[in-house]
Amino acid sequence: MEPIKDYRQVQEAINAFANQDVYIHLETTNGAYASHHDQTFFSAGAYIRNALVRYEIGKITGNDPYRVGLKINLGWIYAEGLTHFEVDEQNRLLLAGHDNKGKLAVALEISATPFE
C-alpha cells in the first residue's frame, strides 16, 4: 500500500467503479485487546464484507487523513481516517487508515467481484 499523496489517483479509481454493481468491504476497529490493556477504553467497531451496492457518485475529501463517501442507490457509505491505498492485482481499490504504529484502524475496499 502507498500513502495517499495525490488524492486525484484515488478519485480516478473511485470513478472507475461508479454506476455498476460493486462489492464493498468496510471495517473499523480498535482491536479486540483495547479494553483488556486499558479498562477505561470503550472499544467499538463495525464490519461488513461483500455488501453488493451501486454508487452514482463517490468522492475523496480531506487532507491526510482522508475521507471517502459513496452515494449508493438508497443511502450512503463512508469511511474516515484513510491514509493508504492500492489498486491490487485483481483491480480492486483497497483503502486503509493506519495509526502511527502501523496498525489498521479502518478499511474501505471496492471490487467488481466478491471478496474471498
Binding site: 479486540a32 480492486r92 502501523g102 489498521l104
Partner: protein
C-alpha cells in the same frame, strides 16, 4: 510433564500457541507424542500492517497462513489443520454446529489431552467461543471417556475468579524452539520481538519467568 498418547491443540488464531503453549507442544513432540494443532481462522482481522505497510487486509491471511506452517514446523507439529473459519466471527457461528465440528475432530484424533482457551477468561471473543465449543464437545462425552482438558486463561480477572493455575510447565529445556515459533509469526511479533531478544540477552528475570513458564487451568466440568 506427563507423557500423553496424543495431544490436540485447538485455537482460533495462528499465533495463539506462540507465547503460552509452544514450549508445552515442543516438549510433547520431543517425548514422541503426536500433536494435532487445529487452528480455526487465519487471523484475517489482524491489525499489524507495518509502518510503512508490508501488506494489506486482503493479503494478510496468506502471510499468516505461511507463518502458521513455519511455526508448526519449528515445533515439530506434524498434523496441522486449518479449519477455515473467519477471524472475529467464531462467536457468531451456530453453537451446536461448532461444537459438533469439535466433537468430530476429537473423535477422529482421539486425544488423551486437549489444550484450548478457558471460555470466559480469554479476552478475545474468538478465544472464548473456541474454548466454549471444545468444552461443549467434551462435555457431551461420558465422564469416563473424556480426555483431559487444559485451558489457557489471561483475562484480568482470571486468577481472582479461577484461582492460580493448577498446572505450570517449566519449558526452559525447549526455549529455543519456543522462540523460533514466536519468531515464525513475524507479522504479529516482530514489532515486539526486538524488545524480547534484548531482554533475553540480558536474562531479564521477569521475561525469563514469562517465557519459561506456561500456565494452564484444568477445566472443571459441572456434571
Amino acid at each position: 510433564m506427563e507423557k500423553e498418547r496424543h495431544v490436540l491443540v485447538v485455537f482460533p488464531h495462528p499465533d495463539d500457541e506462540a507465547f503460552g503453549v509452544s514450549g508445552t507442544i515442543a516438549t510433547h513432540v520431543q517425548n514422541g507424542t503426536p500433536v494435532t494443532y487445529a487452528c480455526l481462522t487465519l487471523g484475517e482481522m489482524g491489525r499489524n500492517m507495518g509502518n510503512p505497510p508490508f501488506t494489506n487486509r486482503e493479503n494478510l491471511p496468506k502471510i499468516r497462513k505461511e507463518e502458521l506452517k513455519a511455526a508448526a514446523a519449528a515445533l515439530g507439529i506434524q498434523d496441522l489443520r486449518m479449519l477455515g473459519y473467519r477471524d472475529k466471527t467464531v462467536e457468531f457461528e451456530d453453537d451446536a454446529k461448532l461444537a459438533k465440528a469439535m466433537l468430530s475432530l476429537i473423535n477422529e484424533v482421539n486425544p488423551s489431552l486437549i489444550i484450548t482457551f478457558y471460555p470466559g477468561y480469554s479476552v478475545h471473543p474468538d478465544h472464548d467461543a473456541t474454548g466454549a465449543a471444545v468444552v461443549r464437545a467434551v462435555e457431551s462425552l461420558p465422564a469416563a471417556a473424556r480426555p483431559k482438558l487444559h485451558c489457557v486463561a489471561f483475562s484480568n480477572n482470571c486468577v481472582e475468579e479461577l484461582g492460580e493455575a493448577d498446572i505450570v510447565h517449566n519449558i526452559s529445556a525447549v526455549a529455543e524452539k519456543k522462540l523460533a515459533a514466536i519468531q515464525a509469526h513475524r507479522s504479529q511479533t516482530e514489532q515486539m520481538f526486538g524488545d524480547v531478544t534484548e531482554k533475553l540477552k540480558n536474562q531479564d528475570p521477569q521475561m525469563m519467568v514469562w517465557i519459561n513458564n506456561e500456565r494452564f487451568w484444568t477445566y472443571k466440568f459441572d456434571k
